[in-house]
């Protein structure tokens, strides 16, 4: 495994030789450890990440699962395609992916940030109970399924493009924002959004006249107080991806919350 890991000051000649062939930004070379994921399986890759004492950059990532699972206090940058359950149980670490994510990004994460410069697969933020997920592109099915909140824990997921069907399925807490940027006529959300939703809040940057919500939720235009809350999430999002906040906020937003007078009862029985 040693040949996959090189650090400044160690094996200098070897590292310099390698760096000539790998285009890695200057600051990365001198502040963090670079891990070539090419030949590592998910266990070896995660062991290497855990043992590292400084920030890490994973290059050539190709489908290794559970990257940074449960990790705290580290910045991890990933070039390539991380596998399923990226940042599962994440506990404070910051992950940036230069590419797309696969399924179950931030599964049950507790704290920290996951930034995806691309799109993500299904079931992102599954049972997430804290931290932030920022996606530049689209999310697949079931984004934010069973997200929850607890005392000071308030998870937030912001999706830049569109979300697939069953957005916020069984959502119990936390906030999901879908911005619908660059949709080009595509719908902002698929079928059956908010099915089984019984807590938390969803912001959709659209009128949503053509979106069919279930009976147990209330969808209404955002009020001033909602926009104030939303601004906090959107500011952070725009900071990450370099968008103009005013432009993003200058649009109709729909807010969806559960209707406590008409609670969720059943879903799959009648097909």
């Amino acid at each position: 495994m040693l040949e996959n890991v090189y650090r400044k000051g160690e094996n200098t000649a070897f590292a310099v030789f390698l760096l000539k062939f790998v285009e890695i930004p200057w600051e990365v070379r001198y502040n963090s450890m670079v891990i070539d994921a090419g030949s590592l399986d998910f266990r070896a890759l995660n062991d290497t990440l855990r043992k590292a004492e400084e920030d890490c950059r994973v290059v050539g990532c190709r489908g290794q699962r559970f990257i940074a699972a449960g990790m705290a206090e580290k910045n991890i940058t990933i070039d390539g395609i991380p596998g399923n359950a990226l940042g599962a149980y994440l506990n404070g670490a910051h992950i940036t992916v230069n590419g797309n994510g696969q399924d179950a990004v931030g599964d049950t994460m507790n704290e920290g940030t996951i930034i995806i410069h691309g799109s993500i697969g299904d079931a992102a933020g599954y049972a997430m109970r804290g931290g932030r997920i920022f996606v530049q592109g689209n999310a697949g099915y079931r984004a934010g399924i069973h997200m929850k909140a607890y005392k000071e824990k308030m998870p937030v997921m912001v999706i830049g493009g569109s979300a697939g069907s069953f957005l916020g399925e069984y959502q119990a807490g936390g906030v999901i924002v879908v911005l619908g940027l660059g949709l080009q006529g595509k719908k902002i959300v698929g079928y059956f959004p908010c099915t089984g939703m019984h807590g938390g809040k969803i912001f959709l940057r659209a009128h949503c006249g053509d979106v069919k919500f279930p009976d147990q939720v209330t969808a209404r235009p955002a009020k001033a107080a909602d926009m104030e809350e939303l601004q906090v999430y959107v500011r952070e999002y725009c900071g990450v991806f370099g968008y103009d906040m005013a432009t993003v906020l200058h649009a109709p937003f729909t807010v969806v919350t559960p209707d406590s007078k008409n609670p969720y009862k059943q879903m799959y029985v009648a097909n």
């Binding site: 399986d41 998910f42 190709r62 489908g63 290794q64 699962r65 390539g80 395609i81 596998g83 399923n84 797309n100 696969q102 399924d103 799109s119 697969g121 299904d122 697949g140 099915y141 697939g164 069907s165 069953f166 698929g190 079928y191 069919k212 097909n271």
Partner: protein
């Protein structure tokens, strides 16, 4: 989630006592039947097709299975290649497992009564430690005897399909696992990347390929139970576990199909053969039968013609609605169709580069085939992705 798929012990005993080669990685043969064994789910699928009909070696799609290694558990891997037998493209290529030499001899006698066999040979394999306890594996390039066809008043395809069913249900120890023209299935108990090495897939050139890594959920891993499941030139690789199996099976068995392979995927192959070959539906229509939209979604359709078509197909074939999770790739002569269940309970992504279209359970697998694949997207549940090779190029 194993409920819904049940097999009778007597059926298992009849067919499998003589025909189980291996169920565990250690080579033990302590066969367990449905209900006695519980294995958590997984599976991986991948496919590639050239719209121009350009040939690719089987190694390409085998490479896609490597980053998805952990989706399988070594109890089944397989591939289907199309366009791989150009020298024999007018003959049905029968790939057959035999438990012993005597079974092969008997089967050959049976085949000779029905077909002209233009070539018969052992399918070349490599001895590797990862693949053990292999059966005797042969292939036959055949064409039905015209006199027999005339006597039975059957068309060629129906005759071949019935013959395959007959061998697989009645001839103990023999199992036809591939029966199309200019295509072939290669499968085994093992991890898919090892199965590719075992069958020397790098020596086959096809215009489309599908691949599967198995993680059996309800039933034991055995050679016949590995994917793809084929009938004529239709092949299915499947990730998932259908909960409508018994309802589907009862319906399809009324039309002469026999589900004997101890796995749910088999029924999908027969359903598609029935809908497309026998009923003459288009692939899009067949997709809207097996992954029918919800009634509420149909009611909301703004195009009345579309609404009427969906209603008609759901009403006509209610027993062929497949529920439960699935992502499948159907291979056929000249094309592929990828499809997710209507709730999209399994993952599937599609990408493109030049004349090639890539389909896989994970984007990482597509990147393994083509690092620069563009337009990566995930089809919605029930949305078929049909890719055809241009006319005349296959």
């Amino acid at each position: 989630m194993s409920k819904g798929v049940h097999f009778h012990a007597d059926l298992l005993c009849m067919k499998m006592n003589s025909f189980i080669f291996q169920i565990s990685l250690k080579g033990k043969t302590n066969m367990k039947i449905e209900g006695q064994v519980r294995i958590p789910s997984g599976c991986a699928i991948a496919a590639v097709i050239s719209k121009e009909g350009n040939k690719m070696s089987g190694e390409l799609v085998a490479g896609a299975m490597k980053p998805m290694h952990d989706r399988s558990n070594g109890l089944g891997g397989g591939f289907a290649g199309y366009g791989i037998y150009p020298a024999y493209k007018d003959f049905y290529a029968l790939h057959v497992f035999f438990d012993q030499r005597a079974t092969r001899k008997d089967c050959e006698v049976f085949l000779k009564e029905r077909f002209e066999i233009v070539k018969s040979e052992i399918i070349p394999t490599r001895k590797i430690p990862a693949i053990i306890d292999e059966p005797i594996i042969w292939r036959y390039f055949v064409t039905p005897l015209q006199s027999v066809l005339a006597n039975l008043q059957l068309d060629e395809k129906e005759f071949v399909a019935r013959t395959v069913m007959k061998i697989n249900t009645e001839m103990r120890g023999a199992h036809v696992f591939s029966s199309g023209k200019n295509m072939g299935t290669f499968k085994a108990v093992g991890f898919p990347e090892d199965v590719a090495v075992f069958y020397k897939l790098e020596e086959y050139m096809g215009y489309s390929w599908t691949a599967h890594g198995r993680y059996p959920t309800n039933t034991p891993g055995w050679w016949g139970g590995a994917h793809p499941f084929t009938l004529l030139d239709y092949s299915i690789v499947h990730n998932g576990e259908i909960s409508s199996y018994d309802a589907n099976r009862r319906f399809i068995e009324m039309f002469g199909y026999k589900c004997t392979l101890q796995t749910d995927t088999e029924v999908i192959t027969y359903i598609l053969d029935f809908l497309v070959r026998i009923q003459g539906l288009t692939l899009e229509e067949a997709a809207s039968v097996i992954a029918a939209p919800f009634w509420s979604t149909i009611q909301d359709k703004t195009d009345p013609g579309e609404q009427e078509a969906y209603t008609y197909l759901r009403t006509l074939f209610p027993s062929l609605l497949i529920t439960g999770p699935f992502s499948i790739v159907l291979g056929y002569s000249g094309g592929l169709m990828a499809l997710n269940d209507r709730l999209k309970l399994r993952s599937m992504v599609v990408g493109e580069k030049d004349d090639r279209v890539f389909i896989a359970s994970e984007e990482a697998a597509i990147r393994a085939m083509e690092p620069d694949a563009a337009d990566i997207w995930a089809p919605a549940g029930g949305e078929p992705v049909i890719v055809k090779v241009k006319e005349g190029a296959y």
